[in-house]
């Protein structure tokens, strides 16, 4: 499938900002199931400082907002040819697998997550792939997709306890539970084509779990499927924070307003 993506993020501030840095992970790479045909990123209101590959081989740009500026606009657009691999990414791992076994702050399994994980233990012992599918549906049941109940720094345990969250929270709960059960797991940020809906409010996020014999397999809890040719992987990390499209830090106490315009279409 050929997907056309256009993604614009605008940060506006109510007063001039002296110094702000933004770390961007917005560039998809060629890999299993996807070939990037064209991709362009543009930043206005900020200047690129460095570009490099991080420890997960994500392409990263560090940009600095213009001194005294009040808006930054980041635009990425391009075309990606995708193929349906039923979520199976395979054995590719550029870093040792055990890095994905240890919990991070956002993906530490507390009592609630451990309880969800325990229910999948039996299925997992029979067949690992079926077990993770089971775990994924358990997470979907336990954490219902609800907007506005969680925020960007909500942890897996907090979301599980609340029983509500968005795709990021559901992925975090799955990751935390999988790691608790001894499986390497990671976060993927990217894009998803939605049927009959061109305009989207935000990028998408899901989990990948490493299964012996298959390698990395994607699980999108929110949509109850393994990613297919409607998905584009952009960045990976141990949790959302490491794979986030934008991480920022600024001086001063200006109030930020975020505006996203995202279109994914065939």
């Amino acid at each position: 499938m050929r997907l056309k993506i256009s993604h614009t993020t605008t940060y506006s501030y109510d007063r001039p900002v002296d110094y702000a840095l933004l770390q961007l992970r917005l560039t998809p790479r060629n890999g299993p199931g996807q070939t990037v045909l064209s991709w362009q990123s543009q930043v206005s209101g900020a200047t690129q400082q460095v570009a490099y590959q991080d420890h997960f081989r994500n392409d990263v740009e560090l940009v600095q907002m213009h001194e005294g500026g009040q808006t930054v606009t980041i635009t990425s657009q391009g075309e990606v040819e995708t193929e349906n691999l039923n979520g199976v990414i395979g054995m590719v791992s550029k870093v040792p697998l055990w890095i994905y076994r240890s919990p991070t702050r956002a993906t530490t399994a507390g009592p609630t997550v451990r309880k969800i994980a325990a229910q999948a233990r039996e299925a997992l012992a029979g067949n690992a792939l079926a077990g993770v599918h089971e775990l994924s549906s358990l997470v979907a049941e336990a954490v219902t997709y609800t907007k506005g109940e969680t925020h960007v720094a909500t942890t897996a345990e907090e979301a599980a306890l609340a029983g509500k969250g968005v795709c990021q929270d559901q992925a975090h709960v799955l990751i935390a539970a999988a790691r608790h059960l001894g499986l390497p797991a990671r976060y993927v940020s990217g894009y998803l084509l939605l049927e009959g809906q061109t305009q989207q409010e935000a990028g998408h996020g899901w989990a990948e779990v490493h299964i012996d014999g298959l390698g990395w397999v994607g699980f999108d809890v929110s949509n109850a499927i393994c990613p297919d040719d409607r998905y584009v992987r952009v960045a990976i990390g141990r949790d959302y924070g490491e794979a986030a499209p934008v991480r920022g830090l600024r001086q001063g106490d200006a109030t930020e307003e975020l505006c996203v315009s995202l279109q994914v279409q065939q």
Partner: protein, 475 residues
């Protein structure tokens, strides 16, 4: 009386001095002890005046304390020093090869020589360093290896201090003080100088700069957490001595792809930063987001190859106390040679059999926290009360992974000057090692720490230890 359980570095027995101390002992016998005691007091005034003080954590009333200085030098012969030099160079090369491997191909884990768990479950391992080759391939630019001596030819490495070893300012100031107080001794004896250390440090760091610096030489800066840090004196002293900039977080920004410092003439790029800020605080954008001491974006600039960070982030994995017991294997794995310097036998309390042994023999052992430093949170079995022993036993049982244990070493002694004349006290030694792409350099000298309390084996300044000037003879 001489306690024969401990190797006395000054005395050979029967009151005769050991060879390295012969000239000193000869001179000493001609001095009036009253004069020497007076000079001891002068030395203290001298240190107070120049302002070498030290903040002790956990002591409210004595925020700034002077580390006591003893006027009797610790003397090491040229031949003894050459063995230490060879042994430490070997060890430091192995540490750098280990770090390159651990953040690269991880051959040592695949070979099975080191359990993967030891790295995987270790907070000192920084995933952010995976695949990152620092400029010049150097990870540990500055190392302060802690050594102890137990006999004529017996030296043990106690700790590798590969993060940010402190104390070098004492090496320099102690010598300065001795030169002022006893100039005649330095004409009688051939003592190798230490004064070139700041210039060597600067040269060594400059040799590790990224290739793309502006102008004719790289700009070097020391990043300090600020005036409230216990080693602030050393940061400012070193910056001054080596002609480097002393900067704090608020002086730095990312400008044009480099970390730059604010000056009266605008921003100037920094090529090498000797940071005295811990990994976790180094960059709020990549590590602890709450950090106010770090430089946002410095890791991005680092990964892009535009700055050298000394020591490299993540080097703590090499001097971790849990890893220490594997050092003989690590040295052999990367150098193909047997380790020249001995390792202290170490029980890893994470292992069931070892824990049992440690609990059964607690009163004879030294137990340390795996991630601790500065002598905090450790137990010296032979010196501990029954209550302390039972409290520590509970801690060990609760969190065995957190501890390693070692036999109580019979640390050598060197005399200190007391009101009753010379009296032996236990010492250790921290030489300072500089690593650049082409050279491992060890200044002939170091910091000798001395436990001032009679019989005490804890030399840490935070626990009442003092320092001595360390003389390496030019024979």
């Amino acid at each position: 009386m001489t306690d024969t359980r401990f190797f006395n570095e000054m005395e050979a027995g029967e009151g005769a001095p050991r060879a390295p101390y012969a000239d000193y002992a000869n001179w000493f016998s001609g001095e009036d002890p009253k004069d020497l005691l007076r000079k001891s007091a002068e030395a203290e005034t001298f240190f107070r005046r120049i302002g070498i003080t030290f903040n002790v954590y956990g002591q409210k009333d004595a925020q700034e304390r002077l580390i006591p200085f003893d006027i009797v030098p610790r003397i090491i012969s040229g031949a003894e020093w050459r063995v230490l030099e060879k042994g430490i160079e070997q060890r430091v090369r192995a540490l750098n090869a280990f770090l390159a491997d651990i953040y690269g191909g991880q051959e040592i884990l695949r070979s099975g020589r080191l359990p993967t768990e030891l790295i995987a479950k270790n907070d000192a391992f920084l995933p952010q360093m995976v695949g990152m080759v620092p400029p010049g391939g150097v990870y540990t630019h500055i190392v302060g290896t802690d050594l102890v001596r137990t006999g004529e030819n017996e030296f043990y490495v106690l700790e590798d201090n590969a993060r940010t070893p402190s104390g070098v300012s004492y090496m320099l100031e102690n010598r300065e003080t001795m030169l002022q107080m006893f100039p005649e001794l330095f004409t009688k004896m051939k003592v190798r100088p230490v004064s070139s250390y700041p210039a060597e440090l600067r040269r060594s760091l400059s040799d590790c700069a990224p290739p793309n610096f502006d102008g004719t030489k790289p700009r070097v800066a020391i990043l300090t957490p600020g005036i409230h840090n216990s080693a602030y004196f050393e940061h400012s002293f070193l910056a001054d001595q080596m002609g480097a900039e002393l900067v704090e977080s608020s002086d730095l920004k990312v400008v044009d792809g480099k970390v730059q410092m604010r000056t009266t003439k605008g921003y100037k790029p920094i090529d090498v930063v000797y940071r005295r800020v811990d990994d976790d605080y180094l960059d709020p954008l990549s590590f602890n987001p709450e950090s106010m001491l770090g430089v946002p974006g410095i890791m991005d600039v680092y990964r892009a190859g535009n700055i050298t960070i000394a020591n490299a982030p993540g080097t703590g994995i090499a001097d971790d106390k849990a890893l220490y017991s594997y050092m003989p294997d690590i040295v052999e794995f990367y150098t193909g040679e047997k380790a020249i310097l001995k390792n202290v036998p170490t029980w890893r309390c994470s292992e069931e059999d070892s824990l049992k042994y440690v609990l059964d023999n607690l009163k004879d052992l030294v137990v340390k926290e795996v991630h601790g430093s500065g002598g905090y949170g450790m137990l010296v079995g032979p010196a501990a009360s029954k209550k302390e022993l039972s409290e520590f036993e509970a801690k060990l049982r609760a969190k065995p992974d957190n501890y390693v244990a070692q036999p109580t070493l019979a640390l050598s002694t060197v005399p200190i000057m007391t009101k009753k004349g010379l009296a032996p006290r236990h010492v250790d030694l921290r030489p300072f090692v500089l690593v650049s792409p082409n050279r491992v350099h060890m200044t002939a000298g170091g910091l000798t720490r001395v436990a001032l309390k009679e019989g005490s084996l804890v030399v840490n300044s935070s626990q009442g230890g003092g320092t001595k000037d360390t003389w390496v003879l030019g024979d």
